[in-house]
């Protein structure tokens, strides 16, 4: 399975960057315009899923393996939790917006709203890697029939990268 036709591959090569950039834009300006971490993360995951569909899974897994995606996933959750915990450290409560209290930015500026942009980026990372992992899991697993006719799930990680 090496992907789709050359038309799909060419269009994907041009379009993937714009989808990715649109997702990043929605994540970064989540505190100013509609959108936010969840929607942006889903759109970024869409760009990688498009890559996987058009070029085959080996091509996409070479760029972002399951181990890296799992690391990004954990890193996103950890960043969100650390940002929340820092509220306690700076003399407030859990989820106190300490950055906004200390350095209030101008209204409608990109660098405003304290830790909300950072939390958006964390959630965006997390959702993106989560959805990509779900897609990897679902598209790598195969249902095979063995000799006794029993169904079993079989997976093929690329070149023994895992376990």
């Amino acid at each position: 399975m090496t992907g789709m036709t050359v038309i799909v591959k060419t269009v994907t090569r041009w379009v993937k960057v714009f989808i990715f950039l649109y997702g990043v834009y929605i994540v970064i300006t989540g505190h100013l315009t509609p959108g936010g971490g969840f929607a942006g993360g889903v759109i970024i995951a869409c760009s990688y899923i498009l890559l996987t569909l058009a070029y085959g899974k080996e091509f996409a897994l070479k760029r972002l393996g399951p181990r890296t995606a799992a690391g990004l996933d954990s890193g996103g959750s950890l960043l969100f939790l650390i940002v929340a915990l820092l509220g306690i450290g700076s003399g407030g409560l859990f989820f106190t917006n300490f950055l906004q209290k200390r350095y209030p930015g101008g209204e409608f500026q990109l660098a405003s709203a304290g830790f909300i942009p950072i939390a958006n980026i964390a959630i965006g990372l997390k959702v993106f890697s989560c959805l990509f992992l779900v897609f990897i899991i679902l598209s790598i697993l195969r249902i095979v029939l063995d000799a006794e006719g029993k169904q079993s799930l079989v997976q093929r990680w690329p070149e023994g990268k895992e376990e």
Binding site: C46, D73, I116, S139, E163
Partner: protein
């Protein structure tokens, strides 16, 4: 008044999509009808002036359709056959009629569309967020201010649920095939 008419038309569109998705024999048509329901929901959110939800809905719907088509239909296509079970159909129709009657009874005292009861209360949380959210959090998007600052616990719980789900899926599905023994 105009919004309600548009919403009712959208609801009929979505109901038709749901009926087709349940009743059709072809799995691919069923999945595509599910996509129509998602698009209808997204447009309804747009008309209700909730662009955040509309963006999330349309993006998640696209990814979900890809998942459904790629992960289920390409693997095992099971054509649905069989006759209509008349007894079950009668039970379903009676239950639906009962639900409809109960809904008509329960929604009698509902307020006017677009004017929630909580907005009339002076010290309601939503009024406070709308009045002081910009000053307190500095975020121009009030949705981001609520879900990441005022209601940060909810977002943390949602992130935890997603994390646990993907962890469980990776752990369970990582097992190699038992009967094959080693490399498949």
């Amino acid at each position: 008044m105009g919004t309600e008419v548009i919403l009712i038309i959208l609801l009929f569109f979505m109901l038709a999509g749901a009926l087709i998705a349940v009743e059709t024999k072809n799995l691919l048509s069923s999945v595509i009808s599910l996509g129509a329901i998602g698009v209808g929901t997204s447009v309804a959110f747009l008309f209700l002036m909730a662009p955040d939800l509309a963006i999330v809905q349309i993006a998640v719907e696209v990814v979900l359709l890809i998942f459904l088509i790629r992960a289920t239909i390409a693997r095992d296509v099971i054509p649905q056959r069989g006759h209509i079970a008349w007894g079950g159909l009668v039970v379903v129709v009676v239950l639906l009629a009962g639900l409809l009657a109960f809904g008509a009874y329960a929604f009698r005292d509902l307020g006017v569309f677009g004017q929630p009861i909580i907005a009339a209360v002076q010290d309601a949380p939503s009024n406070r967020y709308l009045a002081r959210g910009m000053k307190e959090t500095g975020a121009a998007n009030i949705v981001a201010a609520v879900i990441l600052d005022y209601r940060g616990y909810d977002t943390l719980g949602e992130a935890t649920v997603l994390f646990a789900a993907i962890l469980g899926a990776l752990t369970i599905l990582r097992v190699r095939s038992r009967s094959g023994g080693g490399k498949p």
